[in-house]
């Protein structure tokens, strides 16, 4: 089922001449996991801001769950598409973490018992229970990220969009985030991730979309994308070491097959 459908999307900011996005055509089905990759300033964030109607297309249409974003308000569309922005400092404002997470639920008019139930669930899910009464502004970077994520996930949107979730996270927090996203995928959520980190993308997504200068230059399975060295160079992305290794091995005549994504699989294929 098509959850997100973008048709001939062109976008430019008012009073500017240059288009930020040109001719974007995209379909994302329910339950898919997509990574949007591309260099800085390629229009990735601008593209996802169209998914809940913060930005409306200059030309073309965006349909979310069959509804045209031009006809719906941001609040209505946010119920379907939850966007977690890059910098958690841009949204934390409450006195306590509890209030912070309940903000969206209050805005969407949930009843009291439901709010308490959902916030408690989220605190447990993100391992934030001990911070329930502390100020979100005093948490560490990774914890702030988790609060920001919880404050969007709490109202259970069908689509979750993460803008550069790995920036400023250490290895441990990154692994925790990967596990959370994997769990969400298992629950049947559609997850869209913006990232520069192709290793991270491989962990959390199947499909990769590469954006450059506001155009989609590649829309394919990530497992195919990682072997296209020229394409990755063009998009300022680092080819995963494993892919490099497999290509080099192929050059000396050892063919391991190109569906390996993890070190374990690699070792297993060598043993065979």
């Amino acid at each position: 089922m098509k959850l997100i459908e973008i048709k001939d999307l062109y976008f430019k900011y008012p009073f500017e001449e240059k288009y930020v996005l040109t001719n974007i055509n995209l379909c994302i089905d329910s339950g898919e996991s997509v990574a949007i990759l591309g260099p800085n300033g390629s229009g990735k964030t601008t593209l996802i801001k169209h998914l809940n109607g913060i930005l409306k297309p200059t030309k073309g249409d965006v349909f979310i769950d069959g509804k045209n974003t031009k006809e719906k308000s941001v609040a209505e569309l946010s119920r379907i598409v939850g966007i977690v922005f890059q910098n958690p400092d841009h949204q934390l404002f409450s006195n306590t973490v509890f209030e912070e997470i309940s903000f969206a639920l209050i805005n969407f008019g949930f009843n009291k018992e439901e709010i308490v139930k959902r916030v408690k669930e989220m605190l447990k899910y993100f391992n934030l229970e001990k911070y329930e009464e502390s100020s979100p502004l005093l948490l560490s970077g990774g914890e702030k990220k988790r609060v920001a994520l919880a404050s969007v996930l709490c109202y259970d949107p069908k689509v979750i969009v993460l803008d550069e979730p790995t920036v400023g996270l250490d290895y441990f927090q990154r692994t925790a985030l990967i596990n959370i996203i994997k769990k969400l995928k298992k629950e049947g959520k559609t997850v869209i991730t913006i990232t520069h980190d192709i290793d991270f993308a491989l962990e959390v997504a199947e499909r990769g979309i590469i954006l450059k200068d506001g155009k989609i230059i590649k829309d394919d399975l990530l497992i195919n994308i990682i072997y296209e060295e020229e394409l990755l160079n063009e998009a300022n992305l680092v080819q995963p070491t494993l892919a490099k290794l497999i290509i080099e091995l192929e050059k000396i005549g050892i063919k391991l097959g190109r569906n390996i994504t993890t070190v374990e699989e690699f070792i297993r294929s060598i043993k065979l």
Partner: protein, 266 residues
């Protein structure tokens, strides 16, 4: 009413989009006679025009003054900028006209007030559009203002576009969490902005602290009067400009005198 509000909103949006583009906010690197003038000359011009505009309410006098104000703007080739500013203040000009007319029923006076507004705005436009923030800072520095004050001023100007960008990001993030700023009565609407203001304040304080640390680690404040790399000084052009300015001031005072002598009411 709704249309007026929409107009105001679109003006605000236009302004905020201009603000997030630093190259529009700061002075374009156009070069003309006026751009090359010493900022002090331009300040003298702007202040002189401001004082002259407040001297009389005669329409004829203000009309001539308006024409004199326009000369440097045309010399600086700022027609485009002038038009966009004109568009922006046309609403205020209209309101000034309307209120003056309602309270005095004097068409000439109301028109004169509109001209006065235009003169004040355009005379300072000459200064602000042709003088880069660096030059303003240099000028204040030359006028013996303490360096840390001058520097904080230039720094705060430099951070306005950044702040606007942050504000837009914060509004986007909060709208994604269901914040609707246009809902409820006036007090509710003001309260709706709390989720925008608090992050903005926190970010600004954090940034100020970071900048302060970065500056101190590069020896800011080590000496009282640091070297200024660029210099401003009066040259021939400034004296010519000031000469013409004085001639026009005398011309205006002469007109004013003539008008009062012949008891012209306009």
């Amino acid at each position: 009413m709704v249309e007026t509000l929409q107009l105001l909103k679109s003006l605000f949006v236009q302004l905020s989009y201009k603000m997030i583009r630093p190259e529009l906010f700061f002075v374009a690197k156009k070069k003309s006679l006026i751009h090359n003038l010493d900022p002090r000359t331009k300040l003298i011009f702007s202040v002189a025009m401001l004082i002259l505009a407040l001297l009389s309410t005669s329409l004829t006098y203000l009309f001539f003054l308006f024409i004199i104000t326009m000369v440097p703007l045309f010399l600086a080739r700022l027609h485009k900028e002038m038009l966009s500013v004109l568009k922006f203040i046309s609403l205020f000009a209209f309101l000034v006209f309307l209120f003056n007319y309602i309270f005095t029923f004097n068409l000439y006076l109301s028109l004169a007030m509109v001209f006065r507004l235009l003169i004040i705005v355009f005379s300072f436009l000459v200064f602000s559009l042709t003088t880069s923030p660096d030059e303003i800072v240099l000028m204040l520095y030359k006028l013996r203002f303490p360096f840390f004050l001058v520097f904080s001023l230039s720094l705060s100007i430099r951070f306005i576009p950044t702040l606007m960008r942050d504000a837009i990001n914060i509004i986007d993030a909060q709208r994604s969490r269901g914040l609707e700023t246009q809902r409820g009565n006036l007090i509710k609407r003001i309260r709706n902005y709390i989720p925008v203001f608090i992050p903005l304040l926190v970010i600004s304080i954090n940034r100020a602290m970071n900048v302060a640390e970065a500056m101190e680690s590069r020896c800011f404040g080590a000496v009282k009067r640091p070297t200024s790399f660029y210099d401003i000084k009066f040259n021939k052009l400034d004296f010519i400009f000031l000469f013409f300015l004085f001639i026009s001031i005398f011309f205006l005072i002469f007109i004013n005198f003539l008008l009062s002598y012949f008891f012209f009411k306009i």
